[in-house]
Symmetry: C2
Subunit: 337 residues, 2 copies
Amino acid sequence: MTSTYSLPQSRVPDPRDAPTLRWAILGPGWIATRFVESLHRNTSQQVVAVGSRTAARAEQFALAHGIERAHGTYDAVFTDDAVDIVYVATPHTEHRAHALAAIAAGKHVLVEKPLAVDAAGAAEIADAAGAAGVFAGEAMWTRFLPKFDVIEQVLSSGVLGPIHTVLADHGEFFTRDHRIYDPTLAGGPLLDLGTYVASFAYSVLGRPDTVYATRRPATEDIDGQISAVLSGPDGHAVLNTTILTDTPTTATVCGRDGTLTIPGPFFMPGSFAVTMRGGGTVEYDEQPGLQVDGLHYAAVDAARTIDAGRRESSIHPLSDAVATLDIIDRIRASISA
Amino acid sequence: MTSTYSLPQSRVPDPRDAPTLRWAILGPGWIATRFVESLHRNTSQQVVAVGSRTAARAEQFALAHGIERAHGTYDAVFTDDAVDIVYVATPHTEHRAHALAAIAAGKHVLVEKPLAVDAAGAAEIADAAGAAGVFAGEAMWTRFLPKFDVIEQVLSSGVLGPIHTVLADHGEFFTRDHRIYDPTLAGGPLLDLGTYVASFAYSVLGRPDTVYATRRPATEDIDGQISAVLSGPDGHAVLNTTILTDTPTTATVCGRDGTLTIPGPFFMPGSFAVTMRGGGTVEYDEQPGLQVDGLHYAAVDAARTIDAGRRESSIHPLSDAVATLDIIDRIRASISA
């Protein structure tokens, strides 16, 4: 059955039209590689510098991606006059310190998710950026995808009726040698895969009244799986995240009048569907994409925001990052209760 | 990618070959109609009697389905010598009393799910049937479907590796005039839609160590939605059931080495898929079906069981029904804690 409902258009502008910032990459790892590739392939942003604790790694990354300036210390990045904005892609555990140092040096910052390991750390970054008058943002790239702009419009239009349920999971099997098994790097699923489901739940339902979570260990030091129920005035979020198994990694929003389903992996570019009760299904048709097809949207949003004289994204403000980390804090508290 | 894994065959025998029992229907409502239609269409079982509190309803049902004997009291059903087995399809709140009365009269019983409103009631039925030497079973029809026999074989083969996660939901929007909104009939999702997800979780993971649930009211007297996390030695079950919205009603079992996904509605006849990590997907290909295409499997299993001189189904023994109701009891306890 075809639906009489039709989806709104994405309002995300062409990423190539965004004003150009001069970017420095802090921490040349897996996600930084994808971020630079995504910028180079899809935008006119300039990556002018890279910094690592070891000069050799910085130089190797610079060479691989045609970046002019390779710094063997983070400080050299923060004091580099050629740099407008620092993309912090160091391990989660260092996001806060590196973001604060960049802000103190007067740089704008875009910080890989999670913004910090807890809400207090995230709030510190927000406060410091506010006081320094620089831009700070969390690179929760999912929120900036054209697909999610359409989803946001569907949700805020009220067409689904009162929302009662968010179902979301994000599970991926990792081998023991992966850094996600490293307790010194805040290993386990929660700050990594779990950030996506917590952020999604928050974006739909807002702050929950109650948070209950249970954990399954992977090793003595590391969570393997966390399942949680969030309950708030507007509904339940039923969440699961795991590094022990591949899961469907779908997300669903169920309202009285309709259901929005995002096939896995829900946080990537791709399609979704809205099924109206008794009124058929309409699909947002988008080729599934990987990180390289989507990481740049958060970056060009930063560029536009800064160019407009604003210091925070209107799509994913710092308060959203803080609130998501507050959920994560409460999940941790529930687990250890 | 195609998988090198291939699915086992269903071992469920042709329903028409089962020995014939003479059935009486107790409670001529929605599910009884589908049950009789399913028997008549797919088996050689004989429906010889129907009983209702009102003679007119019994007669109307008998006429509609070509049933010889219409009884205006339940007792007349229990004492009818032409009846081998009573299918108890009265409201949940009466299952226990009607099953016990039928057993006391020496009849075999197949009771609509849930077997009783709590584990104690279910255990009473099991004990009474054991003492009387008659068959008793819960018509958890899903468990008897050819699809679920294949799923059972996949799970018990160990091909998925250690199971860590069960995700299942069952949500359906009901209007206020539906009996599911009637508090005197144990309304709300838990004993109805919720029975399917609890039973599925139990069948995969066994008895949970901890059960946490949260509720969202539909009215002052009725739950609208219940979300739960079950944690046991073998993994987490993340469950949701609601009468407030339509949900995908999918079920997923995630193991270290593979994931089994059952598209919605998972509890009906239809397809499912097994995706092996790094090894492609293999699909069990079955036309989606409705109640009429599946309710008879539990009935013919009862017929075969009784004919073999046994008093309990080996596919869905009474202990499984009691254990599922124990989960439901613990969900209720968690909600009201």
